[in-house]
């Protein structure tokens, strides 16, 4: 039992592979046919199999099957594919901007593009999204303009956050995408409050939120599940288990290798879903939304995926995991899998795909060119530092007014 720490007096877990190791994952035993649909009003316990298993729709042969198949139209699937591909191309462009000093920092969704996109597509437009930095793709689904997203990441004059926060800390109220905060985990418990407010106002609004495998060790995770269960909040609580929290493997985030089942003793139906399977994600989320909307309370979902890229532009994962570990992830790549499915059902071709890529490339490039017109970090212009003093309070109190004057004196000298 003491395992790898038998020689030392403390048991310290380790990552399965470190640099120099061969990357190896055991094949997944789970198939699309494994799991039936769950009753809407199932008890937490009745969801046990779904929490210990894995909901999949896209099989190894690229076909969609099983009880959880949402039977989406080819148009919807293509839309999903387009959003995901746009996000990947967008991310790559942003990384280049970061590397050339045009923005200060960046975080990609690489390998996890399906998560926020499929889940947001499964919701209604009045539903609230309370994301981390790894779900910016949801904004595409809600119609946000890329220029405005890039301007935020630069922190230029057109940034709707006014240069106040680091890149990727989006806010987009029009799309009910709630402001991203750096302290990990805080949104998870806050989302329960958002959901309860909707319920209090008797509106058919559901709130969805996400937390990382790492961040699920924060107290906020416990608060969220407890408050959601006790007050039956219409909230969808996702743990995105992408195996890593910066350099720390999820072995340090849980004593067991399953995050889904944690919801069950709180009394929350819990499901584990293949996070790189667009269709499974859509379906599980749709189900959770219906439950919430019917007044049946929260659903807890483990989204099983893999952080294919670096944690952020400041990170070099080859220092702590095999540089090619991502290629061995049994869940594959979410874009490839949906693409291959569409091809397999005769709704897509490699040529379509290349054309789409090109179209998106030029869209992103166009947006990029448009955005930098408002300034980039290397060259300016920068947003006015007046924004330091506004919106700290609804109205600046006297001491802020005094300091603002002083700041202007120095700035304008």
């Amino acid at each position: 039992m003491a395992g790898d720490s038998s020689d030392i007096p403390l048991h310290i877990p380790d990552a399965p592979h470190r640099p120099g190791d061969e990357s190896e994952f055991t094949d997944w035993p789970w198939k699309p046919e494994d799991l039936g649909m769950l009753e809407m009003d199932c008890s937490a316990e009745e969801s046990s199999e779904h929490a210990t298993g894995l909901v999949r729709v896209l099989g190894d042969d690229n076909s969609a099957s099983g009880k959880w198949n949402p039977n989406l139209s080819p148009e919807d699937l293509k839309m999903g594919l387009e959003y995901m591909l746009r996000l990947r191309i967008f991310d790559d462009r942003m990384m280049k901007m970061q590397r050339t000093g045009k923005l200060s920092f960046y975080m990609r969704s690489f390998g996890e593009e399906a998560v926020a996109i499929a889940q947001t597509m499964a919701l209604e437009t009045q539903d609230w999204l309370f994301p981390t930095y790894r779900q910016p793709g949801a904004q595409f689904v809600r119609g946000r303009d890329m220029v405005s997203m890039i301007c935020h990441c630069i922190g230029n004059e057109e940034d709707n956050v006014k240069g106040r926060q680091m890149p990727v800390h989006y806010t987009y109220k029009e799309g009910r995408f709630i402001s991203v905060s750096s302290p990990v985990g805080t949104q998870f418990s806050q989302a329960v409050g958002v959901a309860l407010a909707s319920r209090y106002k008797d509106l058919d609004e559901v709130t969805i939120t996400w937390i990382g495998d790492g961040a699920s060790a924060e107290g906020d995770y416990h608060y969220a599940l407890n408050f959601a269960a006790i007050f039956k909040a219409p909230v969808i609580l996702n743990v995105v288990n992408n195996q890593w929290a910066i350099s720390t493997h999820s072995n340090f985030a849980s004593g067991l290798q399953n995050f889904a089942i944690r919801g069950i003793p709180y009394g929350i139906p819990s499901i584990r879903v293949d996070g790189n399977d667009f269709l499974a994600l859509f379906s599980v989320t749709r189900w959770a939304r219906e439950r919430a909307s019917m007044g049946l309370g929260p659903t807890h979902i483990e989204v099983l995926t893999y952080r294919a890229g670096a944690h952020s532009s400041s990170d070099d994962p080859s220092r702590y995991r095999p540089h090619d570990e991502n290629e061995y992830w049994p869940g594959g790549d979410p874009i490839d899998r949906l693409k291959d499915h569409l091809i397999s059902i005769g709704e897509w071709t490699e040529k379509d795909h290349d054309e789409l890529s090109e179209k998106l490339d030029s869209e992103v490039m166009g947006a990029y060119k448009e955005a930098v017109k408002f300034g980039d970090l290397a060259n300016g212009p920068y947003p006015s530092s007046d924004a330091i003093f506004t919106e700290v309070y609804e109205t600046p109190p006297w001491h802020l007014m005094e300091q603002w004057e002083e700041m202007k004196k120095w700035r304008d000298e």
Partner: protein, 336 residues
Amino acid sequence: MPNMNMVESVNSALDTMLSNDEDVIIFGEDVGYFGGVFRTSDGLQEKFGKHRVFDSPLSEGGIAATAFGMGINGLRPVVEIQFADYIFPAYDQIVNEMAKVRHRSGGEFWCPVTIRTPAGGGIRGGHHHSQSPEAQFTHTPGLKVVYCSTPYNAKGLLISAIEDNDPVIFFEPKRCYRGPFYGDPHNVPTWGGHPEAEVPESHYSIPLGQARLALEGNDCTVIAWGAMVHVCEQAIKDSGISCDLIDLQTLVPWDKEAIEESISKTGRCVIVHEAPKTSGFGAEMVASIQERCFWSLESPIERVTGWDTPFPHTTEWDYMPGPDRIAAAIAKTQEN
């Protein structure tokens, strides 16, 4: 006008706001069915329904986070932290989240939450039922910090806090819930007959940021908040020195005009609080006053505060500033 003690006036403020505004919602540990361990929400669940006034799990972090979410989604939550000593599990949610959400979101989201909490010593509460942690919130931009002292200002300030669109930390001096406290533990008056206990049943408010001139005088400015206001009143009487007694009421933003005006008149100042001296809010007051009124000052500003130690149980009267220490400080300001 009815005579209310501070428990009743806080209750009346909550009652008024629950009646006036459907978005007001109240929760916290034991505040629902039972009406709060200090009885400040007594009867409100019965009157307004348990969707308006309810108990919460024993989790200050969860309470703050839930209030945050409700706040950014259109409600106006008023939550209770049972003792101010227990606010720290919620500290991250308050200082990193509530305080910053309006700013960080470019004004897209804001958080009109009021956090009420009984604070201060004098009830033999020892380390963890006596602290007065106001200073630990005054350093965080985005928060407003209020400390009431009487039944009248408790209601008026609490209504302003609830109506405010920014997060407000609202401290209630638990030693004064049922009567003013003049620093003598053997003298336990009630609020009966006290002019500050005449509290309208109906809605009224005291603007945040405004101090109250509790006594008027010429030779020294005494600044205090919470229970210490009454102790200072006693000390001023005992000292025989003519003093302005400024009940700060709001710590952030504090009342610049009231302070500057008084100091320019008196040229001398004593600041009194229960919390430990080092980095207490008294430090900010001294620093600001010497910056703004240096040339008016005739003598060093004195601080009379709790010691830089945890709050004791049996010997709390040797810890809390009493009229003797305050009167001596007032006298000392007159020396030069």
